[in-house]
């Protein structure tokens, strides 16, 4: 699983990468997830619906909300009224 962050002037940056099945990797991912949310980022997980194949996204607020098998979590700055 990859954690990506959308950044000005850079596009997406890989923050962390690892296999959630491995305890060591999972702890690293959890720490990074918490750090990003604490710094004010929102997190979305791109998903593909099994029956239709349509691509969707879900917002997650806890590491445990990330669906099993998700390949990417995208962090982006919190929305503000323009």
């Amino acid at each position: 699983m990859q954690f990506l962050r959308l950044m000005p002037g850079k596009g997406e940056v890989i923050l962390a990468e690892g296999d959630p099945e491995l305890t060591e990797d999972e702890q690293r991912l959890i720490d990074e997830f918490r750090r990003q949310l604490d710094s004010g980022m929102w997190a979305a997980v791109p998903v593909t619906e099994g029956d239709t194949g349509r691509r969707e996204a879900i917002m997650v607020q806890r590491y445990s909300d990330i669906p099993e098998g998700a390949e990417r979590v995208v962090f982006f700055p919190r929305a503000a009224g323009g």
Partner: protein, 206 residues
């Protein structure tokens, strides 16, 4: 004797002071802002282009194929609203997602414009490039929010009547272009791509 020495020293000090002052003035004159001149680059001008290229690749890998092609060809993405469909009432509505412009809501049957939702994703941690995400990342963030939590996005956005930031004529033209685009895909099974020089999308909101 000492008077002569003093006068010589004073003369030398005066000459040195005058020279330094003249140098300082000359340097300031050289650095003055010039009207119409080229401003010094703060960073590599290709950086933002590369960032946008990366952002487009990411967008392509996340949104549906048709939505990607829509963005590539037309410069915006149309997303169907889900709330009326979930409740089973009313006419269906949709959103047009433009990069760094408000999201425009409209009724899909009549193409009537409903409102503009002004929303941004400013990254205040970034000091070098400013707070704005690359265009395609801005579109991706809006797309993910609408797909994932439409109500939250709309609740947090500033809502305005159509025409405040996005020209309604432009939106109507875009809706017409979208209809033509969909018709061409339906009839011919492929998309006619009209590109601007430089490979940019055929058009975007003004």
């Amino acid at each position: 004797m000492s008077t002569v020495l003093f006068l010589t020293m004073a003369l030398v000090a005066f000459a040195l002071g005058t020279y330094l002052a003249a140098e300082s003035i000359r340097e300031r004159w050289r650095r003055r802002p010039r009207r119409g001149g080229v401003r010094p680059q703060r960073f590599d001008p290709g950086t933002e282009r590369r960032a946008e290229r990366r952002a487009r690749m990411l967008l392509r890998s996340i949104v549906n194929e048709e939505e990607w092609e829509m963005y590539r060809d037309l410069g915006f993405i149309r997303v169907h609203g889900s709330q009326n469909r979930q409740r089973g009432v009313g006419e269906t509505y949709g959103y047009l997602i433009y990069p760094h412009k408000p999201i425009v809501a409209y009724l899909q049957g009549s193409n009537s414009l409903l409102s503009e939702y002004c929303v941004e994703f400013p990254d205040h941690d970034e000091n070098v490039y400013g707070p704005k995400l690359p265009d395609s990342d801005d579109v991706l963030a809006k797309w993910m929010m609408i797909r994932a939590d439409e109500e939250r996005l709309i609740r947090g956005a500033n809502m305005h009547l159509p025409g405040r930031q996005v020209d309604p004529q432009q939106v109507r033209r875009d809706l017409w272009r979208l209809a033509e685009w969909e018709r061409s895909r339906g009839h011919y099974g492929h998309v006619r791509v009209v590109r601007r020089p430089g490979g940019e999308p055929a058009a975007s909101a003004s």
